[in-house]
Each structure stands twice: as C-alpha cells, then as structure tokens.
C-alpha cells in the first residue's frame, strides 16, 4: 500500500503570508489577473447586473470609438473596460486567497488504496475513491484514513494536522464523542475499524476545498437583497441617461452617446457592485482562517443577528479543570501541617487538579519549579494513585499514610467523621466549589477548596457581547447553586443548571418562538438535535459525525469561544456591505458636479458656476470622473477583503461612526479625488 505523503502547509498564525492579512501585493494582483479576464464573460456577469451594464457600456463606447476615433472616446473606452476588469479582479483576488489552502487540501485527496472488509469477513484492497457509505475499512498505524467515517472498533492516535493545522495528534476511539475521523488524516498508532459515512467527492475535505475556493459559494439572502437594490438603482440611472438623450436634444444640448454612457457608468453603484462578491468570499475566508468552516453563507449572516448565545460551562467559560484555591484546616491543625500533607498527597496526582494543589502550596500559583521548600518526592515514598474504588489518592511514607479525596471516601478511610469538617465541606460546596478532604494516618486535617476557574478575560468578552446586544446563557450539568456562583463570577446573563440535552433543545425553542436567533456549540451526539435547532450551530471538529452533520459550522480548533469570533465576522460582513453601498451612493453627488456642468456648459455657459471643482475642461472632467470611478474600486479592494473594522458598541454609535466615515467620506472623497485626477489628466493633449 502506498501513501503519497505530501507536506501540507502548516496553517499557523505566526507566518501568515501577505495574502492572509488583507494587504494587497502586486504579485497577488498579477496572479489573479487571468481569472479576472475569464470572468469578463457576460454570462458570468449576469449575477451582478451593475457590472454587466458597465461591460455593455464599454462595448458601446468601443464600437463608437472605432467608428469615430477621438482622444476622449478612447480614454473613456479604456477606463470603462478597466472598471469591469477591476471588478472581476476583486473577486478573483478574493478567491485566490483560498487557492493555496485548497491546493494543500487537494494533496490529501490523492487516491490511496483501502482495506475494505467484505460481508464474508475477508479483507480486500480497493481504491479509496470506490468506497461508499456503509463500507467498513481497516486502518493501521502509518496508513491514511481513506474517507470520512466513524470508528466502530479500536482506539488510535490520529494526525489531523493536514485538516486542522494542529500538530498534536488526537485520540479517536469507538463509541462516545470522539469517534469521527476525517478522510486524508493519518493514523499514527494502533489500528481502527472505520465505517465510511460519505460518498466519494462529498467528503469533508471536498466541502472544505469548495468553501475555501469560493467555487460553490451560494449568495446569502442579504447579499441577494442588496443586489436587488443595486439593480434597481442601476435601472433608475439607465432610465435617467436614456431619457436624457431626447431631453437634452430638445433643450439644444445634444449629447454624444459616449458621454451619456460615461455618465451612466459613473452614476450606477459600480463600487459596491464590483466588490459585493469579493466581500462575501473574503468573509468566508476570514472564517476559514480562524479554522471555522461554515457550511452555508446563510449561517454566517445569521451569526451577525444572534441574540442569544448558549455556552457550555466546561471548557468554554471555565478552564476544563478545577483549581485548588484555598486550604481550610480543622481546629487543632496548623496551616503548615495541612499544606505539607496536601502537597505530599498530590505528588502522585498528575491530574490538573493535583498539580494545582502543588502550585497553591508552593505559594506562587505559577508552574511547579521543583525548587520549593519541600522536596519533590521524598525517598522511599510509595505513591497511591487514584482509583475508582477508593476514590482517593495519596502517598505512603515511612510511618505516614496521607490521603485526599471526596469527603465520604476519606471519612470512611479514617473511620470517623467530624462536625466541623462537615461544616467546611458544606461551605465549599455552596460557594460553587468542590471540597477535597485531606487526612493523615487516621486523623482528619482539613479541606482543599477546588474551584472552577473562569478563563481569564471571559468577563470582558461577555461585556462585549452585551454591548453587541447579545445575551449569553451558560449551560451546565452542575447544581443550581454552583452554576449561579460561576455565572456570577463569569458575568454571563443567565444560566441553565442541571441541563439535560432535552433542556437545551427546549431552551433554544423557547428563545426562537420569541423571534430570537440562537447560537450554540456542541460536540456530542446528544448535542445534535440542539445544534440542528439553533440558528447557528458550531460543531467541534473533535465531535461526533452526528454533531458535525447537525451543525452549520465546524470549528477545526474545537474551541467553543470561537462562537464570539463567528458573530464578529458575521457582523463585519454586513457592515462592510452597508458601508461600501453608502459610500457608492454618496459618491454620485460629486460625480454630478463633475460631469453635468461639463456636458451642458457649451449649450448653457452659465452652468460654469456649478463647476465647483474648477475642472480644466469638459473632456477632462468627464474622463476624471470615469477614472476616479474605476480607481476607487481598486483602492477599496483591501477594505473589501479585510472588512470594515468592527468594535462592539451599541447600534446607534456604530451607525454614527460608519455614517461619518463612509457617508460623509463618500460625499467628500470624490471631490478631492476627481480634482487631483483632473490636474493630471488635463496634461494629456486633446483633453
């Protein structure tokens, strides 16, 4: 069996090429050019009527310029064509950003052979492309998993770096929530039996390739609605320019068709028309760069509208593990006695909880340095590991036995209880913590307070969410007291305690009947119904096939806080569209001031007063406006790719800010730009 090993480009944030940071390079433009020229096909432009009109206009002026050559005619013609090309170039550049990634993913699809188990129990070698849903294959260490599937037997460590960019291998095992494997990933150890769950060509990697390349991009509802508006504006201005022909003629100011076409192209919203699809592709790309795969654009847009965010407590709001935060000695026990016992008892405990006890006792709370006042492991110590039957761990030294564990287990080991101990245990539990009792050789010493530790910065993130108008709900299996204590500390708005999967689903339904949009993330099979019900369901890549199928996004990093990023990207996508549309429409005011006086100043010399920019000649004014119109597209490509900056704030302040920049800016910028261009263009002889 041959496995073509290709070294996929590691997708780490440290060395991102320029294409990933939104800066546009000349090389990138050159690379995108052939694609841009292919997109000039009118059939391809049908989707953006604005640009189709520009192309038709360019054809008309070309014909006119050939029939009756003039400097003005050729200038306008060339720049109209450039306007169309700049539009397709924007789209092409946006697509190009996904190309490299797609290439590395394609390498995973190299055909391999698979060992398929036949119904009779034999094993046969078949090409991976001939595997169908339900086939069962064997994959051993060093082999590549031939298709998406579910582990039905065995445990293995799998290298998924090609798909997720995460170099540490992950464990995949049958049953439970870690059973899904992705085609193209490599088994590093052991052997597993996998049941294939996707048809050839429809695998996860196939979908990823389609997504990053933008080839299967479906336009989102809002993008379609915006396109309707842009088309309507285009029709209005087509009517304006078409009717202006007889009307100007009637007023003794007959206009050449060439000039009317130039006017039309300047008035229709070419800026946003040219950049609209690039914005959409770049939005998806931003998601991909954060290792989130959206299965539909609709979900990305819905992310911007999210009203309620359901977050699992463990791993999302709190660090996955509890940390020791306090030692509570019983009467008659000195703090040092308890500390020493707790430390010794934890030496054998390699769990994060155990390590946190060590850290607490060593006083700095930082990582264990091994140079504290207490030796690491004393000579002759026998470590007693935690077991499910004793529910304790500890250490046996010469003449000393130290144990720590759940209150009931330790008191049973000691042989007697203590009312004061019960009080301490009760106190810790009611504050949301977990009590661990420490005892030495039949003597109860005290209690270690293990606490859920809220991830640093969560409170700030939730404050941000509140500023965006999003309510956060923490979901946990803990009891109500513990849950509320943590919710309070993390600063979430609401909490669903002792939650079962059914409770989650019911909560989502309840919020949705009120018209709210709900986002959640999950990984288990029992999360699947809730993921499917949520408007935005982010499945963890480590999760089950069922969860990944049910959600409309997959997070390759399996980081539940990613939801917050997803919301921001969704909002940024919408803001970018709105900002550029406003900019585009506002530009028209200045273009009128440039072109209309130029058109009619011969027939009506009084109109020269309206030439507020003091453009040098009518021809130069028209060309300057057309050139500005084309160049502004190029100038805004980086913005379209990067997206308008989004800072969480109330709707009113966001609107005020964006309106000031893109509305007022859109009014002013072309006055400056056209004037500057005119200074240059007026140097051209014949204009």
């Amino acid at each position: 069996m041959t496995v073509t090993q290709s070294e996929p480009e590691p997708r780490t944030g440290a060395q991102e090429p320029a294409s990933r940071t939104g800066v546009l390079t000349a090389a990138q433009l050159a690379e995108a050019l052939p694609g841009a020229l292919r997109k000039l096909d009118p059939r391809a432009l049908l989707a953006t009527p604005v640009m189709l009109v520009v192309e038709v206009g360019a054809v008309v002026t070309t014909v006119l310029s050939i029939a009756d050559p003039s400097t003005l005619g050729w200038f306008v013609t060339v720049w109209l064509w450039l306007t169309v090309v700049f539009g397709t170039l924007a789209e092409s550049v946006a697509e190009g950003r996904g190309k490299a990634q797609a290439a590395s993913l394609r390498a995973l699809q190299t055909e391999t052979s698979a060992r398929r188990r036949t119904p009779s129990g034999d094993v046969e070698d078949v090409p991976s492309t001939s595997l169908h849903v339900g086939d069962v294959v064997l994959v051993a260490a060093g082999e590549r998993i031939p298709g998406d599937g579910e582990v039905v037997q065995g445990v293995a460590s799998v290298d998924e770096s090609a798909v997720t960019g995460e170099s540490a291998p992950v464990i995949r095992e049958s049953g439970g929530d870690r059973s899904a494997v992705t085609g193209g990933t490599t088994v590093l150890s052991d052997e597993i039996v996998v049941r294939i769950t996707s048809e050839p060509g429809q695998s996860f990697v196939d979908r990823m390739i389609a997504l990053v390349e933008g080839s299967e991009r479906q336009r989102t509802p809002n993008e379609i609605a915006l396109n309707v508006l842009l088309s309507a504006l285009t029709v209005v201005f087509v009517v304006v320019c078409a009717t202006l022909w007889p009307i100007a003629d009637h007023n003794g100011a007959r206009q050449p068709v060439l000039v009317l076409v130039a006017l039309l192209v300047c008035l229709i919203p070419t800026t946003i028309g040219a950049l609209l699809s690039a914005i959409g592709i770049a939005g998806m790309d931003r998601l991909v760069r954060r290792n989130v795969l959206a299965m539909s654009g609709r979900a990305v847009e819905a992310a911007g509208d999210i009203d309620v965010l359901l977050l699992d407590k463990t791993g999302t709001i709190t660090l996955g593990n509890r940390h020791a935060t306090e030692l509570l000695p019983l009467d008659g026990v000195t703090p040092d006695e308890l500390s020493e016992a707790a430390l010794l008892a934890s030496l054998a405990d390699e769990t994060p909880e155990g390590r946190s006890v060590v850290e607490l006792v060593r006083g700095d709370g930082g990582p264990s340095t091994g140079s504290g006042s207490v030796p690491d492991v004393p000579q002759g110590a026998v470590l007693v590991e935690f077991s499910a039957t004793t529910r304790m761990s500890g250490v046996d030294l010469t003449g000393r036995e130290i144990r720590k564990g759940a209150a009931s287990a330790v008191t049973a080991w000691v042989g007697h209880g203590d009312p004061q101990l019960d009080g301490l245990v009760e106190r810790v539990a009611s504050s949301g913590g977990t009590p661990l009792v420490v005892a030495e050789s039949g003597r109860l010493l005290g209690v270690i307070h293990l606490k859920d530790v809220v991830k640093p910065g969560m409170r700030e993130r939730f404050d941000e969410m509140r500023a965006m108008g999003i309510r956060t709900v923490m979901i946990t299996g803990d009891n109500a007291i513990t849950a509320h204590a943590i919710a309070e500390e993390a600063g979430v708005d609401d909490v669903l305690a002792e939650a079962t999967p059914e409770d989650k689903l019911a909560l989502i339904r309840k919020e949705q009947t009120g018209g709210r949009l709900v986002a959640m993330c999950g990984d288990g099979t029992n999360d699947a119904p809730a993921l499917a019900q949520a408007d935005v369901g982010v499945a963890m890549n480590t999760g089950t096939v069922a969860a990944k199928e049910a959600g409309n996004m997959v997070d390759l990093d399996s980081d539940p806080t990613k939801l917050i990023d997803v919301v921001e990207i969704g909002k940024q996508l919408l803001i970018t569209r709105g900002a550029l549309t406003t900019f585009s429409v506002a530009n028209d005011v200045a273009k009128y001031f440039a072109i209309l006086p130029a058109m009619f100043v011969v027939a009506f010399p009084d109109l020269d007063v309206l030439n507020v920019m003091r453009l040098s000649s009518p021809e130069s004014a028209i060309v300057s406006a057309v050139v500005f119109n084309a160049l502004v597209i190029v100038a805004l490509i980086p913005l379209a790719l990067r997206g308008v900056r989004y800072t969480p704030a109330s709707a009113a302040s966001l609107l005020r800010r964006n309106l000031l920049i893109y509305g007022v800016g859109g009014l002013v910028a072309p006055f400056v730009g056209i004037k500057l261009l005119d200074l240059v263009i007026s140097l051209v002889p014949g204009l």
């Binding site: 509802p221 609605a225 309707v228 504006l233 007889p246 109109l607 893109y662």
Partner: protein
C-alpha cells in the same frame, strides 16, 4: 425686512394650529382604522355596497377592491363628462371632449386633480358636485385606507397576509373623518367669505365699462374637501387665487391648515397603530424637516430671489395675488407641492426660477413632506425601509423595521416602488419632448418652456395636480399622456405598498435588542432625510439642471 414679520408670523400660527390638533386627530384616526365597531350610517353603506365590513381581506383582495372601486369611478366620471349636456344643472355647458373627459375622470379618481379645463367655463354644477366632489372624498379615503392597511400590516404578526377591509376603510374614512371635518371647514370658509350657492353665471358691467361674467356655485363645500383630502381641484380655473375660493389671508391660512392636517395626523396615527408613538413622531419629524426647508427656500426665492424685476421690486410679485403677497404665496406653494394638493393661490409659472425649481423638486421627492393623505405616509415608510436596509447593514445586523426583517422579497417591492415613479416621470418627459404635440402647447421658449412640460408630467406622475401654467394641456396628446401618468403613478406604487403590507402582516416579529437599529432617534430622522434627498432626489438632477437650474443661473 418689514415683510419678514408677517411671513414668519403666519408660519408660526400654522405650526401652532397643527401642533395643537394633529395629535388629537392622530389618535382618532388610529381608532378609526382599528376599531371593531360600525356606526349605523356605515352599516347602511355596507348594505348598499353589499359588502361584509368584518371580512379581513388578504392584501390582494384589498388591492383588487381598490382597483375595482377606482375603475368604476373612472368610467362613471367619464360618462358624466361626456353626457353633461343631457343632465340637469349643466349651466348650458356641452359635453367635454373624449380625451378631456377621460383625463378629468382619471385625474379625480387618482386624487390628482389635474385640470386641463377652466372649471367655471366647462363644468356644470352636477359634474362639480356629484362627480368631482364625490371623488375628492373617496379618492382621499382610498389613499388613507391603503396607508392604514400598511400600518396594520406592520403591526400584525403571522396573519397570513390579511391587512383589513377596504370597504370598511373607505366608508370610515369618509364618514368618520373627511365628512365631519369638511362640514365644519366649509362653514368656516363661508364665514370667511367663500361663495356657496347654486346660481349660474352673472354678467356684470365693470367700472371701466367692460363686461365680466361671474359664476357662482357650491364653492365652499368643494373647497373644504379640496384641501382636506389634498386634492386641489379648484372650482375656478385660477383655483385658490380666485377671490370666491380664497378671499382673504385668513381663508388662505385655513386652507393650508386643512391641507397639512390629515397627512401629519396619518404619521401620528401610524405610531398609534404600531403601538410605538415615537415611530410616528420620527416619520412626522422627517416630513416637517423637509417641509420647513422647502418653505424656507421658496420664501427666500420669492422675497429676495434672483431676477432683475424681483430685485428691483423687492420681491417677486408677478403672478401673485396682492392680498396674499409673496410670503403667503410661497408658503402655499411649498405646502401644496409638499402634499399632493394641486391647489395654487399664485401662478407657479411666474415664481422665480429657484422658487419654481423647489416646488417642482418637492413633487419629485414623491410628495413626502408630508405628502398626500395616506400616500405621504406610505411613501415615507417605503423610504424608511430603504434607509433601514442601508443603515441596518452598517450596524452589523440583517436589516429590520419595527421587528420585520427586510430581506430579498421586501427589497424587491421597495425597489419597485422607488423605481415606478421616476421611470414613469422621465419616460413621460422623454415622450413629451420627442413628439411635436408635446412642445406645441408650451408658452415660453428655452429652459422655462422645458420646465413647463417637466412640471406638468411631474405633477401628473406624482398625483399632485398642481399646474405650473404656461402649458396648454387641453390637447388629446397631453390629456392622454398625463392621464396615463396619473393612472399608473397612483396605482403602481399602491400595489407594491399593499403587497409589502401583506408580506409584513404574514411575517413574525423579531424583538428589538440593544443591537437593533433604533428608528425613532434624531440620527435616523437625519439619515432618512438624507436618503430621500440622495436616492430619490439624484434621479432628477439632470432634468432639473436643464430646467430651473439653468434658468436660475441665467
């Protein structure tokens, strides 16, 4: 300037009257269009019309009812004009020509009241009273009904596209709102000196020895609804410039008050119907803002605008009644074109070029300041939805207005609404200048002559009815062209509005959160004003440039 005091004074009085009464009428209108109960006289009307007023109509049924009712109106009015000589109270006038009769029929049914004829020289009292005055009432009630249906559509959730009952809206609008107010207004107008009788024409010898024909008639009763329903069709040719229609500055003020009363109150009623009065206030605020700006501009143009004669005379008094003066004429001009009232108390043809340009632009904006009864409200709301779409994107949410998502389908309807009037208007102007019959009726040459045609088509397409003057429009060409403009200019937008009302009525409501764009704040008011000026206004810049702008700069 000494004339400035009275000019500002009358604006202040007008504003005060409106501020005091509009909120009351708004509450009453909201109740009228949402109450379940019927008055006795209304039940009689429903029985005569054979309709069930409690049937909640789907928007399409509502729209077809509007169309059917209007079709009957056009045909009846057309017949009345053609058969005038055979009917009583004709005052000896003969039949109207076919094209003229059709134009008039369409004109009054569409709430336009474009008049190609001289009322006192062509129409008998029967045509005036049972034809035109009746349409003044019902066409206004139709517009109010459609606006109410739209407001109800926004207020409802998941009602499967049902928006209310057209016939109930129609009858209630007439019986509960228009009739009582016009009755009172007519009596006050009579007190202020407006004529009200059924006599014919009187021949008089004038002081200079010539003879003059004076026609009396039921003027006050027609005058009240002419203004209240933002109709504008005058009894006399010169409309509210005629001393029998509008004898004093006080009757002038009352007429302007009547014109503005219902359109502003509809905005308030909208707030009540959607159960958020601040929304009505915001919409009314934009209307008031646009109206204030145009009043200021026209007043400036007429009192201190450019032109050799006005500069020398200290004001543009040509074509204006001395008893009103420049300020009251300018105010009347801004008020009538800001609404869809075709009334004039001075000749807009003789306004200064910028003054004429502003009243023209008022109509081009789609008459939303504050617009016709009903049509002003729904026109403004369509623009508000457009604004929400643009602004909503900029706050990072898919846009929604009053909890209704604005997606593809909604945008199609809004875009069609925004497209309809400019396309009709510009195509109409292009047709008018392309045929010899168009410019044939134009009085002046050059840009002013073009403005005369532009104004006529604009007035018709926007259902205003205001005449610039100078254009002899009583020809088959103009009557037919303007008739078509009026017909489609009225009902095309209305269909899009009703379709959107039905869509909203069927849609669920998204609750507002702190991430939702507020649509009642000053920022939104400014933005909506900006969108109206840029998105709608920019469409007309080239034609305005060739007409009033060139003339202003000359």
């Amino acid at each position: 300037m000494s004339a400035l005091g009275p000019a500002l004074g009358q604006i202040a009085v007008l504003a005060l009257l409106l501020v005091l009464t509009v909120p009351l009428l708004a509450r009453y209108l909201a109740h009228t269009y949402t109450s379940e109960r019927h008055l006795g006289v209304e039940r009689v009307a429903y029985r005569v019309l054979r309709v069930n007023p409690d049937a909640d109509q789907h928007w399409r049924t509502y729209a077809l009812s509007v169309l059917g009712f209007s079709l009957v109106g056009v045909l009846a009015l057309y017949a009345l004009g053609r058969l005038q000589q055979h009917l009583p109270l004709s005052l000896g006038f003969g039949a109207l020509p076919a094209d003229g009769s059709w134009n008039t029929a369409v004109s009054f049914v569409t709430n336009t009241n474009w008049q190609w004829y001289s009322g006192e020289a062509a129409l008998g009292h029967l045509m005036q009273m049972s034809g035109l005055t009746v349409q003044n009432f019902v066409s206004a009630a139709v517009g109010m009904g459609v606006a109410a249906a739209f407001a109800r559509g926004l207020a409802r959730t998941e009602s499967r596209g049902r928006v209310g009952n057209f016939f109930a809206d129609l009858v209630r609008g007439v019986v509960r709102v228009l009739l009582p107010i016009s009755l009172v207004a007519a009596c006050v107008l009579v007190l202020l000196g407006v004529v009200q009788n059924l006599s014919g024409s009187h021949l008089l010898d004038t002081l200079t020895g010539g003879t003059q024909t004076l026609t009396g008639g039921p003027v006050a009763s027609q005058e009240a609804i002419k203004e209240l329903g933002t109709n504008g069709g005058g009894f006399y040719n010169v409309n509210s410039a005629h001393p029998f229609e509008n004898p004093t500055p006080f009757s002038n003020l009352l007429q302007m008050y009547l014109i503005l009363l219902v359109p502003f109150a509809m905005a308030g009623a909208f707030g009540h119907i959607v159960r958020d009065r601040r929304q009505g206030l915001a919409v009314g605020g934009v209307m008031a803002l646009l109206l204030s700006v145009s009043v200021a501009l026209v007043t400036w143009a007429e009192m201190a605008g450019p032109g050799t004669a006005p500069q020398l005379a200290g004001g543009a008094l040509e074509g204006k009644e001395v008893r009103f003066g420049e300020a009251a004429s300018a105010l009347f001009g801004a008020v009538t074109t800001g609404t869809s009232t075709g009334a004039v108390n001075s000749m807009h043809d003789s306004f200064t070029a910028p003054g004429g340009g502003v009243v023209l632009f008022n109509m081009m904006l789609g008459e939303i300041a504050p617009g016709g009864v009903g049509s002003g409200l729904y026109g403004m709301l369509m623009l508000a939805i457009l604004t929400v779409f643009l602004a909503g994107l900029m706050v990072g949410r898919t846009p929604e207005y009053l909890g209704k998502k604005i997606s593809q389908r909604e945008m199609v309807l809004v875009a069609a609404y925004v497209l309809a009037t400019p396309v009709l208007l510009l195509a109409g102007v292009a047709v008018a200048v392309s045929f010899d019959d168009g410019p044939a009726g134009v009085l002046n040459s050059g840009p002013h002559g073009f403005t005369e045609m532009l104004y006529a088509v604009t007035s018709a397409a926007n259902n205003n009815g205001s005449a610039f003057g100078g254009l002899t429009s009583g020809t088959p060409f103009w009557n037919t062209l303007l008739g078509l403009e009026m017909l489609f200019g009225r009902f095309l937008p209305m269909l899009f509005v009703l379709a959107l009302a039905g869509r909203f009525a069927a849609a669920p409501r998204v609750p507002a959160g702190s991430g939702t764009l507020p649509t009642h704040r000053p920022l939104f008011v400014v933005l909506l004003t900006g969108v109206a000026l840029v998105v709608v206004g920019l469409t007309y810049v080239p034609v305005l440039l060739l007409g009033p702008v060139v003339e202003s700069l000359a």
